[in-house]
Symmetry: C2
Subunit: 348 residues, 2 copies
């Protein structure tokens, strides 16, 4: 009872253009031209075209993507490489919106996604990545590349492979297209909001080893202030003594670089008996993934991650088409949450 499904040819291997051509009584060239069609160089008789299309249907022909790619064609494949593991739930929440945007725009453009699975431990751009890259039309990159990674990345860009980084990243000696959030002006705006609420002594707190994004935020912070106080410390160093010291030093508002620091700050504050925003104010400069049920909404920036994902695919499509794609900047919105209160200088 397991009769073979219809229009499945006896041949074990999928049919080729050659077989289609034989059936239609034409040459393989014509089959290719019927399929791609764009070359107005040669016009095809409508009747011939019909015969070819019929043969294609009869045989259930589908083009071989590998062969097509080999002759310099597009594979409609976009590689996605992440310098950190994507799926563990810790980072998944962060990367998911990017991936949503990427998937959405890729689907719209008829592109599939090639997810590079990291080697066991390290998340390095693998040595043989070139081989795997050769299947794709271009590559999207996320995460935090090391210096070594950046050098390899520079070589990749220099080889002409279209690549777009999501987040502002620079590599030595190459012009890497990025899709970035406008952290600088958003941070400046947020800082001015603190000023408007009467805060005068603000402290910017971030982890050590700032990357480009962090520097943008610092820049925006400094732009809005006469005196910009910045502290970079391990999250572990953010303890009772540190907080007390800061408050006694006159600080009334904290700008935290990521939500881990925010969480830490609120926890220390609670244990020490401080109330937010009565005793001090705070805001996160990354995307607040608070959402812990019951948590008050944190103030901070909303990074349009989904839109950035979509923009990255669009930029990559330009590069693939041979047009130069400049880096794009996406504005961030300010999230007015429950962690910003009145400062000592607010006009009543």
């Amino acid at each position: 009872m397991t009769r073979p499904p219809p229009r499945q040819q006896a041949s074990r291997n999928p049919p080729t253009q050659k077989q289609v051509a034989e059936r239609a009584g034409v040459s393989q060239t014509i089959v290719s031209q019927v399929l791609n069609g764009q070359t107005d160089q040669a016009r095809i008789h409508p009747e011939t075209r019909a015969r070819v299309l019929q043969a294609i249907r009869d045989l259930g022909y589908v083009p071989n993507a590998a062969a097509r790619r080999l002759v310099g064609g597009r594979s409609s494949l976009v590689g996605v490489f992440t310098y950190e593991a994507v799926f563990p739930s810790s980072t998944r929440d962060f990367y998911a919106p990017f991936l949503e945007g990427i998937e959405e725009e890729a689907a719209r453009s008829g592109l599939d996604l090639l997810l590079y699975t990291g080697g066991r431990g390290g998340r390095r751009l693998p040595r043989d990545l070139g081989a795997r890259l050769s299947l794709t039309d271009g590559t999207l990159l996320l995460g935090r590349p090391s210096d070594q990674d950046r050098r390899e990345l520079a070589a990749l860009v220099h080889s002409g492979h279209p690549a777009v980084f999501i987040g502002r990243r620079t590599v030595p000696g190459a012009d890497l297209t990025c899709v970035q959030a406008d952290y600088a002006s958003a941070t400046a705006k947020l800082t001015r909001r603190f000023l408007a609420r009467g805060h005068r002594e603000l402290l910017y707190v971030g982890p050590p080893g700032p990357d480009e994004s962090a520097l943008d935020r610092e820049r925006g912070f400094a732009q809005a202030l006469d005196l910009a106080r910045v502290e970079r410390l391990e999250p572990g160093h953010l303890d009772h003594a540190w907080l007390r010291g800061a408050l006694e030093g006159g600080i009334t508002a904290f700008l935290l670089e990521n939500d881990a620091l925010m969480r830490r700050l609120l926890e220390v504050a609670r244990e020490a008996g401080y109330t937010v925003p009565a005793d001090f104010s705070a805001a996160v400069l990354g995307d607040a993934i608070s959402g812990e049920a019951g948590d008050p909404t944190w103030s901070g920036l909303h990074v349009p991650r989904r839109e950035m994902g979509r923009g990255a695919v669009q930029a990559l499509r330009l590069l693939v088409a041979g047009e130069p794609a400049a880096s794009t900047v996406f504005p961030c919105e300010i999230v007015v949450g429950a962690t910003i209160g009145r400062g000592p200088a607010e006009a009543r």
Copy 2:
């Protein structure tokens, strides 16, 4: 200052085996054999091999995956096709563990993942999927295919393309390898647990249009009982009147097919003033994605989705290697939550 990175050849295109061969003073054949090595048919002089390897390093050669694939080689690519959208947060929670398992095992096996992005609206296996499939060594499938989808799937399997479905699915006239959860025995076990707690009148409730998994669950339910009562209804029909009717009919325990039904049942019960598990007991037969903060833990089954994802990759690797891979069954654990209480017949 933008001097080209080292070991990047002047040639705009990546180096080929031919260029490596020229540099090493050998033929392209030798380069290929040095790289693949396995053919003991021809042994290569150690010195020659060294020269070739040196040339490969000098030029920064990487194999062209498309060409390799074209000649019948493996691409180390596994396709992942889902009949529903993956990234929307509603379904993401459900699919994420599968993808985690897939990614984990793929990484371990040195495989990358090709995510097929769905066409605009429908999530059908696209007509030209064959073209996109041709790049992969095999394909993993998830979701709920329609009858039409199943026919196309049958053709795919019949064409010899390795494919593994995650979840038990049957297709007409083809032997589809599946990685399935052992719903039948887990449901039977859960049902016996209800019996042990003194429940005698159990009702199985599922949505209309049961798929293979649902039938397995029904089967397990029926196995454990003399009289198995099954009701299939739209979630909207589960209202006060329905619940009252069931309880007045003597039902003391409900087995719900999915968490949407469970949520609905608990909501209706709360509004009607019933208490769970005092007034009746309940359990979910799918994976309970309760986790709503504050919710009591639901009783039900734990589907080992992560392990199933890994198992699917392993099965696919077998198929790709040419060995037949039988369908695999993964046992489900029973989750003892807060929604099962004492029944009228429990021995004290």
